[in-house]
Structure formats: C-alpha cells, structure tokens
C-alpha cells in the first residue's frame, strides 16, 4: 500500500497532530516503507484462526461493582495547564 500525501494529512487529522511543511513528505515515504514491510503478513495462511483478544489464558475475574476510590478532585486537576477551581479549562467549544 502506497500512502499518498492526502492520506497522510487525513490520518494526521484523525490523530489530531498538526504537520509542518515538509513533515508530511517525509512521513509519506516512511509510512509507506513501514506498511509495505508489514504486508509480508499476507503470506501467512490465517483462515479459520481466531484473532487474539487476550494473551493470558487465565479468566479475568469480575470484581464487585462498588466505589473504592475518589473524593480528591483537587488532586486530579492539580496538573492541569489551566484550571478554575476543580474544573479543567478548555477553549470555548459552544458559541
């Protein structure tokens, strides 16, 4: 699969990463190289093979649905670049 310029800009948009002038050109060739390399997986016959969903064979246990933690909002917002009281501040979203 060849990744073209428009595809690079589209996935960068989906990933919310702004690309500099020229950065998209470099990524175009790097991502194409990586994807062409992983396409060797096409050689493997995987008909009837279940995709892995969990690497361990152990059953994950259900826990009780109860509150075990919390009550320290101030601690949660302490590292925010911008805060107001116990709220995160973001640029205006709704006019």
């Amino acid at each position: 699969m060849k990744i073209d310029d428009a595809t690079v800009r589209n996935i960068a948009r989906l990933a919310r990463i702004k690309l500099d002038e020229g950065e998209d050109k470099t990524l175009e060739s790097e991502l194409t190289g990586i994807l062409q390399w992983v396409e060797q997986l096409g050689e493997v016959d995987t008909d009837g093979v279940e995709p892995m969903t969990c690497v361990t064979d152990r059953q994950i246990e259900m826990r009780k649905d109860e509150i075990t933690d919390g009550g320290y909002a101030d601690e949660i917002v302490r590292n925010a670049p911008e805060r107001a009281g116990n709220f995160f501040v973001v640029p205006k979203v709704v006019e």
């Binding site: 919310r16 990586i34 060797q40």
Partner: protein
C-alpha cells in the same frame, strides 16, 4: 570491603545486616557517583538525592529495629515511565512536561514497601518507543562500554537505556524497566547486564505510562541473576487496580538460583538462526549450548515456524494500541498545552509540539491500521498471526522446559548509526518481540564479548509464570560465562 557501589544487591543485603555501612552511607556513595558520572552518561534525567537520603535514613531506623524488608536500603533507579508520587514523571516526552503524579505506580510502591531507596528517575526512549534511547526528549543515553580502541559513543539500547547504562556503570544497584518488544532484554544485552521481562500479568501495570497495553510488562535490570530474582520478588504480585495482573502466589524466586539443571530439556529454535546472522552471534549461541550441556541439560532442536512474522505483526499491534493510549495527551489534563484558534487547533498544535518524530510515526501508523476500511486487513490480520505465534510456543513447550536463543542480532552500535531508517532500528528486536507477542517471560544474561570488545547477551524464554526456570538456567549461564571484564571508567569526573 570493596566500595559499596561495586556490590550486588545480594552482597549489599548482607553488608547492611552486618552493619558494615549504613543505608545512608550507601545512598550517599551512589549519589556521589551519579554526580560524577551523569554529565557523560545522561542516564538519570532527574536525580533525587534528598529523597534518597530521607528514604535511606528511614531504612536505617527499620534495620535498627530489626524490621528490614527484602530490599531494605537498596538504592534503585526508576525508569521515567513509572509514576512516582510528587516526583516529575514524563515518559521522557515533552508532552508530559512538569507532570507530578499524586500517586506511585503499584510496582514502585511495592519496592518502597520492601525498603528500597529511590535515587532518581532514569532516561528512556520517548514513551518507551525505541531501541537505542535516541528518541528521548532529554537526549540520548551513552553506554559505558566503548569499542576497543575507540572513543565513539555507543547507544545503551532501548527503550530502558537509562536503566541499563546506570546499572552497568554502577550508578545504582538495580533499576526498574519496562519491556513491550524487548525494551529490557535488548539494552541488557548491549550493556552486559541482566534484564528480565516477566510473564504478562506477573507485575501490575497500574501507574506505568501505557504504550501498548497487551504487551507492556515491568521488570528488573540488575548486575546478577540472583539480584534479578530478589527484585522481581518485590515487584510482582496481584493488584486489584490492574485487571490483567494475575492472582497467583509470588514464589521464592531466589530459591531457584543455584538449582541443578540436570535432565532439563532446552529447546534450540531453528528459526532464530536468521539469514545473515553475524558469526559471533552464532558462536555465542554455541557457547551457551555447550555450557548447558556440560551442566547436564539436554538440547532439543525445535521449530517456531511463525517467528519471522512476529516483528511485522508487532508493528501493527503495538502502534495500534499506542495510538489509542496516547489519545489522552490533549493539553487539557496535564503536561504541555499550546494555544490554538479553537479546541481542535489547540489539540493539534499541542500534540505536534509535544510528540517526537518516532512517537508521531507510530501514532499515525496505529491510526491508519485502525481506520475504517483497513482494520480487518491490518489489525485483525496481525491479531490472527499473533494467535499462531503463541500456538508455536505452546507446541514446543509440550516438549521442552526452556528455550535458548541470542538476545540481539548484534552488539551496541554508535549514536546516529541506525536512527536514519525506522525499519533497520526495529530489526533490533527481532529475537525479543516473540515473547511479548505470546506473553511469555524472557531473560537476557551476559554471555561474552563481541569482536569489538562490547557485551552480547543470551536469551532464555520459559512457559508462562515459570520465571523460576529462567533464574535456574540463567544462573548456570552466568557462572559458565564468568564475569565480564569491567569497562574502563572514562565517564566519572574526579
């Protein structure tokens, strides 16, 4: 009595019990060594000497009262991927600038509960993405080892390059590390240290900055197999805060060190004999086989047919999980924020400025393979291949107790030598990735020196939750290989 910084964890434990020195003196010796060495090696990105001395004094008080823990007073370095309460944690990324967690990761908390002392936070590749420690926002780490007759700086491997360099240069007695595709075993191989990746689920992942959640596992980097067993014993255990951590008792790992390997069956996977494999790697592997045979083990030729597909499958699964995990860095809750015209612009500018080139590459690959129309062709295909890779191991472990293979395709390389081509860098993990893809434990143990005079490691892989087998067989390799010569200390200022 030799310098406290020259001792292993096991030797230090005895010396502290015999009151040959105090935990405070031990911490001070390491703090001084870090001050002399760190400018040259760049292993620590944040030394915490005051913190270390406070913890060491508390250790001395517990030793005096007779309540010493398993790692009482032992000075450790902590990879910057582990959250440490009130101490800056950035995963060596610009995007986590100034982040101070209000909590410790479960693994670090377990270490403090066992009496360990934190010397500081260690450098690593940004978000643990790399095999040379060159992608860190804080600059590359330098390997204390150099090629014979050369001053050229070598990489320590990655992503746990700071951990490996610091342990190899005796700046700490052991270090925490994490391994998603080889990030403990590969740097251990390149620095002549012992690196263990435990079984997926053996150590809690809670409070460790996530890279690829189905592959990430924390483990120790140490200077001996016994030290590795001691550290894992303190790090491991069930944690209700990580639903993938397994509720199975933590054995006495140290008891496995020194046990006979007579009659054990050691698998030699033929697919690890790659085309173009350097002769010295082949020779090292042969030495390992001879050592284990002399100790009474039986070698069995085995096949893991899907080995060559592990790395390309990994480069779909790991970036896919990373793109999802790293979505949380949006300039809202912590770390860097770059203002924009609106909220989307703010996200895009923050992530553009905050992520380095390798992280961007992987987030974009991950976004692509998970996007509509490509999900089945890439992601689901890779997960099917992963099932086959795991099945290969299940089949061979019907016949053998442990597998022996090289840890890396070559010794330490120079800074800048492989950073131009992503795929060439990825190939460093060709021997280590299969264990991650299958959730199995693996260890790298120094096996000897390359033709350039730099270390090379041998790798053992065992069944899930059979870390004891790795310590048991690993100790035999360690004894047979003998201690590597110590690299000449060029890095410490007088």
């Amino acid at each position: 009595m030799s310098e406290p910084t020259r001792l292993t964890i096991a030797e230090t434990r005895d010396a502290l019990a015999e009151k040959k020195f105090s935990a405070e003196e031990l911490a001070q010796a390491h703090i001084s060594e870090i001050e002399r060495a760190n400018e040259a090696l760049n292993a620590f990105i944040l030394p915490t000497p005051e913190h270390a001395l406070d913890m060491a004094r508390a250790s001395d008080a517990r030793i005096a009262k007779g309540g010493a823990g398993a790692l009482e007073g032992i000075p450790l370095g902590i990879k910057d991927l582990f959250c440490t309460k009130g101490v800056r944690t950035t995963a060596c990324s610009h995007i986590l600038d100034g982040f101070e967690p209000g909590y410790d990761s479960t693994v670090t908390q377990n270490l403090w509960d066992a009496g360990a002392v934190m010397l500081g936070k260690l450098n690593c590749d940004e978000f643990a993405m790399g095999s040379s420690n060159e992608s860190s926002y804080y600059g590359p780490v330098i390997n204390p080892w150099r090629r014979a007759g050369s001053d050229a700086p070598l990489v320590p491997g990655g992503s746990s390059g700071g951990s490996a360099s610091a342990v190899a240069a005796h700046l700490c007695q052991g270090a925490t590390a994490t391994d998603t595709g080889g990030s403990i075993r590969q740097p251990a191989s390149l620095t002549g240290t012992v690196g263990l990746k435990p079984t997926y689920g053996r150590c809690s992942r809670w409070g460790i900055v996530a890279f690829a959640s189905s592959l990430d596992q924390a483990g120790p980097l140490t200077r001996s197999v016994r030290d590795s067993a001691i550290m894992l014993g303190a790090m491991a255990g069930h944690d209700p805060k990580d639903s993938t951590s397994v509720d199975t008792p933590v054995p006495d790992y140290e008891a496995a060190v020194g046990q006979s390997i007579r009659g054990l069956k050691v698998g030699i996977p033929r697919e690890y004999r790659m085309e173009g494999m350097p002769e010295e790697i082949e020779a090292l592997w042969k030495s390992g086989i001879d050592w284990l045979k002399s100790a009474g083990a039986e070698m069995v030729d085995v096949s893991l047919p899907h080995t060559k597909y592990a790395l390309p499958a990994y480069y779909i699964v790991a970036p896919a999980e990373a793109s999802s995990n790293l979505a949380r860095y949006d300039g809202v809750r912590y770390g860097l924020r770059v203002d924009g015209d609106d909220i989307i612009d703010m996200y895009e500018k923050t992530r553009a400025a905050g992520f380095g080139a390798e992280v961007k590459r992987r987030v974009l690959i991950g976004t692509y393979v998970l996007s509509a129309g490509y999900y089945d062709a890439y992601y689901i295909k890779a997960q099917r291949v992963r099932t086959l890779i795991k099945r290969d191991f299940e089949d061979v472990f019907e016949k053998v107790d442990v597998l022996l293979a090289p840890s890396t395709p070559g010794p330490a390389f120079a800074i800048g030598e492989k950073s131009g081509d992503p795929i060439e860098m990825y190939l460093n993990d060709i021997f280590t990735v299969p264990a991650n893809m299958s959730g199995l434990p693996g260890i790298s143990i120094p096996g000897g020196l390359s033709g350039e005079g730099t270390p090379l490691g041998l790798q053992l892989i065992a069944k899930a939750f059979d870390e004891e087998m790795l310590f048991r067989v690993g100790h035999v390799i360690e004894e047979a290989a003998g201690e590597l010569p110590t690299p000449d200390n060029w890095w410490s200022k007088s």
